[in-house]
Amino acid sequence: MTQAKTAYQKPIPLKDLDNAPYWDAADQHQLALQKCDDCMAYSQPPGPTCAKCGSENVIWQQLGDDIKATVYSYVVSYRPFLPGFQDELPTIIALAQLDKVPEVKIMGNILNCEEKDLKIGMPIQMTWVDITEDRALPQWIPAMN
């Protein structure tokens, strides 16, 4: 089945040497974060070494699939800047601050959210959208409670 691939017009996250564990976990509907085993700092987005201390001793921590956060900031875009977004305007792009690891913030769209309900501090929950046969994109939805 290649139908899904041609149907999805938006950019698909490119895996590379340094970020592949994040996207591999996402494809399994899980969150993994890069962490320094020397200074314990998280790197998000991940990189070749720890961006805080330069250590090469970086590891991956599995956080599972129950990821709660709050909206730290957001923009609402009324114009598509990339292919695939033209049919889903306005687009809410938010920076989510993780409840369990507040020093980590992850960007994403907030789905199923009206612009009027959007505010800084609102609770959100990570969800995963299957965008092709073998790829899934982490996204956010308003938390139920």
Partner: protein, 386 residues
């Protein structure tokens, strides 16, 4: 190394025509700008022994410019860089003159920013993901424009400090008012009212078209030399009191770390190098790719306290006659857009009192600040005097 305070000067400034569609190449625009700056300085083209430019792959090279000016300089340099590059290349030029390598350097920015390559637009998404550090973590979510990246900073900062959309409007109105006094400003003859501003829909919150810089075809050039050589120039020298630059983000990207900007760190070193305080500044060029970027820098450079910047701009302090006349030719919001160099040219003209006897002159101004912003993560700034 000793201090460079007052030992170097900007002695020439010039620009090409500005338009939506130049019908020519960045090389032609650069030649026009360079010739205008050389004439302004009263120099011969062969007096220039260094050429530098910054670009985003959208300009001619320094080698090309020097070649077609008919000179064979000692030094050419082209960097990939954004809106802090004018200040950073001036620092490079000063260092090379100080080292005895060069005498006089011409720095330019030339671009068909409207009819050619538009900054932050129309790139292949996969290329963008690879080209931007951490690009895979923003591009798939539709975030590909500086308005969206800086907007994320703005929304949070406005939430924390009480800055409103109307406050952003005061930045725009102030600069548009200056553009009405500048016949060469692109938005000359197009004044802006608060009613119109607030009625204009956002492109990407919190920014509408007025909050966003112009996109134009234009070339700008400035000439830097030693204070000693400046005495031989036709123009009034504008001396460099101090400079500073800084990269601040702990990652090679700034997507997720939106509470600091590099300007926060540049300010202290800048004032120390120049030996002045914010109270001593008479006129300002503050990098204005977006209205909020001005607000954030007013806080960083100490012109208003955090939480009071909104009131500062609402009181009209950015207008000619206010406490800090800023972007007095209209800035990048309403005059022109060359990644900051047009704002540098304007502050040089203010400090030379080129507008004496007109309503464009900031009366008796002596000291000015010029700030650059290549993004939240990279800043460069300088303080100048006449």
């Amino acid at each position: 190394m000793g201090t460079i305070k007052d030992r170097y000067a900007i002695v020439g400034v010039g620009e090409s025509e500005r338009s939506r569609k130049s019908g020519t190449t960045p090389l032609h625009l650069a030649l026009d700008a360079a010739n205008a700056a050389i004439k302004d300085a009263g120099l011969k083209v062969t007096d220039i022994d260094g050429f530098m430019n910054y670009n985003e792959g959208d300009s001619c090279t320094s080698h090309q410019l020097a070649t077609y000016l008919g000179v064979r300089p000692k030094y050419v340099k082209d960097i990939q860089g954004g809106g802090a590059s004018t200040e950073m290349l001036i620092a490079d030029a000063v260092a090379l003159i100080e080292a005895g390598q060069l005498n006089t350097v011409l720095i330019y920015r030339s671009m068909n920013g409207s009819s050619g390559t538009r900054v932050g637009r129309g790139y292949d998404p996969d290329m963008l993901q690879g080209a931007l550090a951490g690009g895979s973590f923003v591009i798939p979510y539709g975030s590909a424009s500086p308005s969206q990246w800086f907007g994320m900073y703005a929304t949070r900062h406005m939430h924390e400090t009480g800055i409103t959309k109307e406050h952003l409007g005061h930045v725009c109105l102030s600069f548009y008012e200056h553009a009405q006094r500048n016949p060469k400003a692109f938005l000359h003859g197009k004044p802006l009212t608060m009613e119109n501003y607030l009625a204009t829909p956002d492109i990407s919150s919190p920014f509408n078209i007025h909050d966003s810089c112009l996109e134009l075809d234009e070339g700008n050039a400035i000439i830097v030399t030693s204070a000693e050589k400046a005495k031989d120039c036709k123009s009034k020298p504008v001396y460099i009191m101090g400079m500073a630059a800084r990269q601040c983000h702990p990652h090679a990207h700034y997507w997720n770390d939106i509470d600091q900007v590099a300007s926060d760190y540049v300010a202290e070193e800048l004032y120390e190098n120049a030996g002045v305080t914010p109270d001593d500044i008479d006129v300002a060029s503050i990098y204005d790719c977006f209205s909020w970027v001005v607000m954030r820098q007013l806080e960083a450079y100490g012109f208003a306290k955090r939480g009071e910047v909104g009131d500062f701009v609402a009181e009209g302090n950015l207008k000619i006659g206010g406490k800090l006349p800023t972007n007095t030719a209209g800035g990048m919001l309403s005059e022109g857009y060359t990644h900051g160099m047009n704002n540098t040219i304007e502050i040089v003209r203010q400090l030379r009192h080129d507008y004496e006897g007109t309503d464009r002159q900031v009366e008796e101004c002596k000291i000015g600040i010029c700030t650059g912003w290549a993004g939240p993560d990279i800043a460069g700034a300088m303080i100048l005097r006449n």
